[in-house]
Amino acid sequence: MANTHNERLKRLIYQTLLIRRIEERVIELYPSDKIQSPVHLSIGQEPVAVGLCEPMTARDVLFTTYRGHAYYVAKGGKLPELMAELYGRKGGVSGGKAGSMHLAAPEVGMMGSSAVVASTIPHAVGAALAAKVRGDKQAIITIFGDGAIEEGVYHESLNFASLHKLPVLFVCENNALAVHTPLRERQAFDIVTHAKAYNINTTVIEDGNDLIKIADTSAKLLESLRSGGGPEWLMIKTYRYKEHVGPGDDFDSGYRSRAEMEKWLATDPLYRWADLVKEMEADVKSEIDRAVAFAEASPAPGLADLLTDVE
């Protein structure tokens, strides 16, 4: 391993590890009922978020889904505020009103996540329109699962972005499962050639564990957006280790097999670079401990907060 390669890889691995361990901490804490929020865990999909966000600046704006922990962290959102938000405390990034499904950090361009499938895709298109009209060299990114593609609003968004040549990167995190239903029963078309038919450049990354490849691809596509090249569409194949919502495993439920996961574990960067991971564990743990301590100490919001920020 060359040293230059090392520094960058280390950064990426550290972030991946941080997200993995945060979510594992969430799993650990969940039985205590301190986190009373439906958690859609990213475990297994973290390298996608980490790689994509590497070349983004705080000015680049990202919209994501209810499976948003990884993006919040990768985009640069603060950990204590994340943990306090999951705890439903005043110190949370949204004062305890958002919970797990609506994480945001506008100061670093993390524009929010929605619990309704596909609903933030047009927001990214609108943000890209505003940037284009202003003559701003901002890049706008929207993350969605392959389930979102079945929603009409996905088509409406793709069409509008292509028609107006907007600086938006559509990213499909393809874990081939919308909740529990496999792709074949839901989609009567190939999503890549379909996107291409909208006159949008498409890129596919088969290995969602390849941090460097994802980060390099992201950098190239964002550059194209900034130079006025019109929308880009990227699909990254990845794998969700945990159940759709909640902290558990679900390999006994019949819709997928453990062998599938084993295949993905083989390229999981946290196993592949186990030696690097080992060196980082202590730092990661103390960072998370501090975040949890902050959340524990933060007061719960009360009556005085109930009606603020309605309008």
Binding site: E150, G152, F189, T193, N199, I200
Partner: protein, 308 residues
């Protein structure tokens, strides 16, 4: 017959007896007639708000048609529906809606029911190319292809959503190319010729039944009149003179008339049929004018389900 009905509307609309927003089919009749005749008695159709041609082609009933446009009790819905919501369930005319694309999933539902209950029966959704801008069109296409439903999508492609051309609405080059990505068969026609559309629909029906997958028919056509109303708007800025001339040179009624004559029918026989149609339409209009207005009690009928 459809053309003459609408010409009658154009003539008598200014009398203000028909108080309903008219979305006229004129110019586009060949699509409805070709498709509905090919479906015969074995199809269910759902139309858009530009529903006159579809309704008349599916039901051949201009009596109820003019009754409804006049808001009288002999109309399709006792005068409660007007021009945009024509329906005749027993004849497989499942309705038309004032909301763009809203009827498409309804037709998919009918196709689903037909697959379970009436094998061989096909559901068809008529819509303009503007409706394909709507997400629900794509949802309907995906669902019916994924489920393998006996469904026919009929796109009446006049290039215009109200006044806006496709190039200002679509980010892709060709709708047909995108639709081809789905598990369905795709047919195209730009002849405006009712017999060609009929033949194409027959092949589509055969394909739907043989393959168990939907068909998408893209039929190029041309709307003569303004989007809503009864006036010719050839001078409006969105129109193009050469396009106007091209399509009016391929008028579907004129084409068919010429064919009948070429096939050896005598001019006087054609004129006789035309006169028969005209007289029947005049009788329908007169009957509508003579029919009663709905009573005040009818205002509340049919809002909720009432046990028989």
């Amino acid at each position: 017959m459809t053309r003459r009905c609408e010409e009658t509307i154009v003539r008598i609309y200014p009398d203000d007896e028909m108080k309903t927003p008219m979305h006229m089919s004129m110019g586009q009749e060949a699509v409805a007639v070709g498709v509905c005749r090919a479906l015969g008695n074995n199809g269910d159709v759902v139309a858009s708000y530009r529903s006159h041609a579809t309704y008349l082609a599916q039901t051949e009933d201009h009596g109820s048609f003019f009754g409804e446009l006049h808001g009288r009790v002999n109309g399709t819905a006792d005068g409660k529906s007007g021009s945009m919501h024509l329906a005749d369930i027993p004849k497989g005319m499942l309705g038309s809606t004032g909301i763009v694309a809203a009827g498409i999933p309804v037709a998919v539902g009918a196709a689903f029911a037909n697959k379970q209950n009436s094998p061989g029966r096909i559901a068809a959704a008529f819509f303009g190319d503007g409706a394909t801008d709507e997400g629900v069109f794509w949802e309907s296409l995906n669902v019916s292809c994924a489920m393998g439903l006996p469904m026919m999508f009929v796109c009446e492609d006049n290039d215009l959503a109200v006044h806006t051309r496709k190039s200002h609405r679509q980010g892709f080059n060709s709708l047909v190319e995108v639709v081809k990505k789905y598990r369905c068969s795709v047919y195209e026609d730009d002849t405006n010729d009712v017999e060609s559309i009929y033949a194409m629909t027959r092949s589509a029906i055969a394909q739907i039944i043989a393959m168990g997958t939907p068909a998408f028919l893209n039929v190029k056509t041309y709307r003569y009149l303004e989007p809503c109303g009864t006036t010719m708007d050839s001078d409006a800025p969105y129109r193009r003179a050469e396009e106007d001339a091209y399509w009016k040179g391929r008028d579907c009624v004129a084409l068919q008339r010429a064919r009948l004559l070429a096939n050896g029918l005598a001019e006087k026989d054609v004129v006789a049929v035309e006169n028969e149609i005209n007289a029947a339409i005049l009788a329908s209009v007169a009957a509508a004018k003579a029919a009663a207005h709905p009573t005040p009690q009818q205002l509340y009928y049919g809002v909720f389900y009432e046990a028989p």
